[in-house]
Amino acid sequence: MRQRYFSTFQLILLAQFAALIVVAKIALRLPLQLSGHSGLFWMAIMIVATGVVPKRGAATVVGLTSAILAAFLGLGDFGALDTFLSYLAVGVGTDLILWLLGSPEQPVIAALAGALGHFAKFLVKWALAGVVGAPMGFVALGLLKAIVSYLVFGALGGLLGALTLAALRKAGFFAYLAERK
């Protein structure tokens, strides 16, 4: 019998990470008036997910699952399609960059993956705004500020994810996982 790419256990883990992203998005309110600040926990969870299930496509599965959940829960200001595609983009973007860079356990790689993965969300939102004919940004510098904010919070989130992975490894979580597979 052909072996499945993701085991049921791994899929359950990834679904839990997806649910965690959505719950965090709803419940965590950082008092920061900066766009993209949710990238701090979002990318941290995403990087931990790709470290715990180190297979290509893991981030996309998390992105897709969180996208479905978020769209059905009515999250986001710009409708279900915008929400679905932007959540999915985080997963796809993270997978693509990790495909190039390798393991997210290294802090530099995790930070870069976090920044690029989070920036994929910004790109989707920006492109969709163009497609639906949204008016041009009110403040010219607003776009640059938003980009910088997305990148910084994404990178910090990635770094946080790498630190969490290191802590999990130290605690013996990966040895426990190897037994469960």
């Binding site: 190039l100 993956a113 949204a134 403040v139 010219a140 776009l143």
Partner: protein, 167 residues
Amino acid sequence: MSQKHRIGLGVLMLLLLVGAVLGIDALQRARSEKDSVGEVVLTAGSVPIYLDGKLVAGFQPTDLEHLAKVSFVDPAEGKTQEGWLLRDVLLLHIKRSTLKATMLISVSSSSRSKSAQVTWAEADDTANWVMFDLAGRGTLKLVSVMDKLDSRDEWVQDVDRIEVTNP
């Protein structure tokens, strides 16, 4: 390829993407810069204000120097909405004596096919927090604590027109 090269390639990709976004945005702005309608000059991204069907002004970024920034915490979602009161925006361009309590102010978004109506009396009452929040992608979003405008579905995102009319 060494890890150093891979990281360099990743950074380069990031810079190219950011450059592309900023370049396209600058190109779009340059193309639509300063649209003149009669005596009113509308800069890129500004929101035209109509009074009884006649274009009287544009709410533009330079106006922000004259407006006080305000904020409130949206009770439904616990999210801070920060921006500029619709009342202050209107008073910057229309004399207070022209605005009557029953006048209807319609704020709309053509791209989202959404609009919201408030009377001048409602907009003028600061307790209602009828204001524009700057959305993540840089466009304006009309929010308020009033029943008819206090949830995400009722907000008007990507605002591109303000109309003031006599009922």
